[in-house]
């Protein structure tokens, strides 16, 4: 199927009334979660995953994708009006967005964030549809050594790029790998670390694990903190940036889009990293860098464009290689598996309804977000005023019923609670849970491809250094490890 026919097919799927409703629901729920401080896209997708269990796979993925880019849109509202990021990819938006709001320019900040997100998101989707097909064809030629090396490169990137200590990120990645080994051996079907518990024979479920680490842990963490910032009492005059704003922001949007586009594809990169880099670039090339942090519109436009472009292009490695490049996509990868679909090079051929349906729904979702979100900003401001004491019990209720509904098992609720406590303690110990979940999801793939590679080569590890793609990935791994070491040495 060529791109044009594929796109038409995608629109025919995405515009079915049921799917339109799911795109709308996904965007709305995503924006809601993005608006609420503390809960990011990982928690949102984990918590809301059970709602999609009874949907057909295409509808489920369309809705979950909608939640993802909905969160990216919604996060900016809280950053601009409360000076508290709705999610990590909106941290940078606080710097200038809140200052603009304090200067009475909240409307322009919210407007440029929304339009910038729309433009960048659309460019990202165009990239997704253009690159995915050819990359899938290349990926079909990959063997176990290539897959092992690329997954290992993903691990290294995530460890290197994780905020805070690379050492702790490495510990988290290894822990995720170990947890992924619980259950039956993927080749011999022998029990591993199950302690004879029947529920562990199929391994630890990705949904209860993610719900615990990101949902329950976040609630427990917030319970220990004082209430977040107050919503600014600002009058939003116009959400349409004026001519001067557009002139100031247009190149920032373009640069943010390009940075987000490429970093979205990079393993471990994704929306968060792209916002920091695009902000840094804008500040560096600005004629008056001292304006940044005091309400520069470029400081809002560039990171918001970057995170939306990255959110769209981060689907490329998942759809073509079957390798999620960041933690959000790792949870989405889990959602694919729950629905019995294996993302990878054969996805476009075997499940064109899912691939093109998601692409079509992304275009529609982007328009929906732009049309719906700007008029709904007063509603989101009211949502921000919901007290934590009402919000958190409801989140926990959703987690509990959601975890139960995966396998109709109380055991899964227990797993979620245990990992909720673990996630809380990890956070207190400055450990990031993202490398853990990514390694957990990719662990079985890594193991199977490692063992198959060694079987093929007769135990010779040079197989990872004699094939061009595997060699390239291994060189990147070694380079990043050396950089981590140098960074740690410099830090000391």
């Amino acid at each position: 199927m060529d791109i044009l026919n594929g796109l038409l097919y995608g629109f025919s799927i995405a515009t079915q009334p049921g799917h339109l409703a799911l795109v709308f629901a996904g965007c709305l729920l995503g924006t809601l979660v993005g608006v609420l401080p503390g809960l990011g896209p990982v928690a949102a997708i984990s918590i809301l995953l059970p709602l999609t269990f009874h949907l057909p796979p295409a509808g489920a993925i369309i809705m979950l994708a909608g939640i993802y880019y909905g969160v990216m849109y919604g996060g900016s509202t809280t950053s601009i009006l409360v000076n508290v990021p709705g999610e990590t990819a909106s941290v940078v938006t606080c710097l200038d967005g809140y200052q603009m709001a304090r200067q009475g320019r909240a409307g322009a900040a919210l407007g440029i964030a929304a339009f910038g997100s729309f433009i960048a998101g659309t460019v990202g989707i165009v990239g997704l549809q253009l690159i995915a097909g050819p990359l899938s064809s290349v990926a079909l030629k990959f063997g176990p050594p290539e897959y092992f090396a690329i997954i290992l490169m993903g691990f290294t990137f995530v460890t290197y790029l994780a905020p805070g200590s690379s050492l702790k990120a490495g510990i988290m990645a290894v822990l995720g790998l170990i947890l992924s080994g619980v259950g039956l051996d993927p080749i011999t079907s022998e029990q591993r670390m199950t302690f004879g518990v029947l529920n562990l024979f199929e391994g630890i479920g990705v949904a209860p694990l993610a719900m615990g680490l990101f949902g329950v842990a976040e609630v427990l963490n917030r319970l220990e903190q004082a209430s977040f910032g107050r919503v600014l009492q600002v009058k939003i005059r116009s959400l349409f940036p004026d001519r001067k704003d557009w002139l100031s922001a247009r190149w920032a949007i373009l640069r943010g889009t390009l940075i987000g586009f490429f970093l979205g594809i990079l393993p471990g990169g994704g929306p968060v990293l792209s916002t920091f880099i695009s902000y840094g670039v804008e500040k560096r090339i600005a004629k008056e860098p001292e304006r940044f942090g005091r309400g520069a519109i470029e400081g809002v436009a560039a990171p918001e464009a970057a995170n939306n472009a990255a959110a769209s292009t981060s689907f490329i490695p998942l759809f073509t290689l079957g390798i999620p490049p960041n933690v959000v996509l790792a949870v989405l990868f889990g959602a694919f598996l729950v629905h019995g679909i294996q993302p990878g090079p054969l996805l476009i051929r075997d499940h064109p309804d899912i691939f093109w349906g998601v692409v079509g729904s992304m275009y529609i979702g982007n328009v929906m977000l732009l049309v719906l979100n700007l008029p709904l900003i007063p509603l989101w401001v009211q949502v921000l005023r919901i007290p934590d004491r009402i919000l958190y019990p409801l989140i926990l209720l959703l987690c509990v019923v959601g975890a139960y509904s995966i396998n109709n098992s109380v055991f899964d609720i227990g797993v979620m609670v245990v990992f909720g406590v673990v996630g809380f303690l990890l956070k207190r110990g400055s450990y990031e849970a993202a490398p853990l979940i990514l390694a957990f999801v990719l662990g079985p793939m890594l193991e199977v491809n490692l063992r198959r590679s060694l079987l093929i080569s007769g135990g010779d590890f040079s197989i990872f250094f004699t094939r061009p793609i595997a060699l390239g990935a291994m060189i990147v791994c070694l380079f990043l490890l050396a950089l981590s070491f140098l960074r740690a040495k410099k830090g000391n």
Binding site: I178, I390, V417
Partner: protein, 148 residues
């Protein structure tokens, strides 16, 4: 002073020991035919190595120990975890409606709201979730002692 890095480093070392021994017991196999214990064994060793590095670095850490103590959940956090654990235990016996109402009463109650708000909020949340999951999403929620 025991800092959080030293505590976590020691815990990781213990976990690494367990995983490595599990790997050996499962059978590491050979390089040309890796067994089920291959990955647990090597990842256990990797965890041990990283834990040792963390422990060693924490000994040289110049950050004041007071700032680096392990943070445990406060009273509210402990109450929430206890309520969730109790809920897991009681859910199969009491059923969704009774157990979840109890859980929500505790969770809303911890927010120090008026009794009427707590009761009404809990009943409403349970009722709506019951309708959503049982009737809309067709999840067979446990009945327990109730006939529905």
């Amino acid at each position: 002073m025991i800092t959080r890095d030293r505590i976590s480093g020691a815990l990781w070392l213990l976990a690494a020991g367990f995983v490595t021994v599990s790997g050996v017991n499962l059978g590491i196999g050979a390089y040309d035919d890796p067994g089920p214990g291959f990955l647990p064994f090597w990842s256990g060793l990797a965890l041990a190595l990283l834990a040792v590095v963390l422990l060693v670095l924490s000994l040289w850490d110049r950050v004041p120990a007071e700032e680096r103590r392990m943070g445990l959940p406060g009273r509210t956090g402990v109450a929430v975890v206890a309520a969730l654990a109790l809920y897991c235990w009681l859910l199969p016996w009491l059923g969704y409606l009774i157990a979840t109402t109890g859980l929500m009463l505790v969770l809303f109650g911890l927010g120090r709201m008026r009794v009427r708000t707590v009761v009404l909020g809990s009943l409403l949340a349970v009722f709506l979730s019951y309708i959503l999951f049982l009737h809309v999403l067709k999840v067979p929620l446990p009945r327990g002692i109730l006939p529905f």
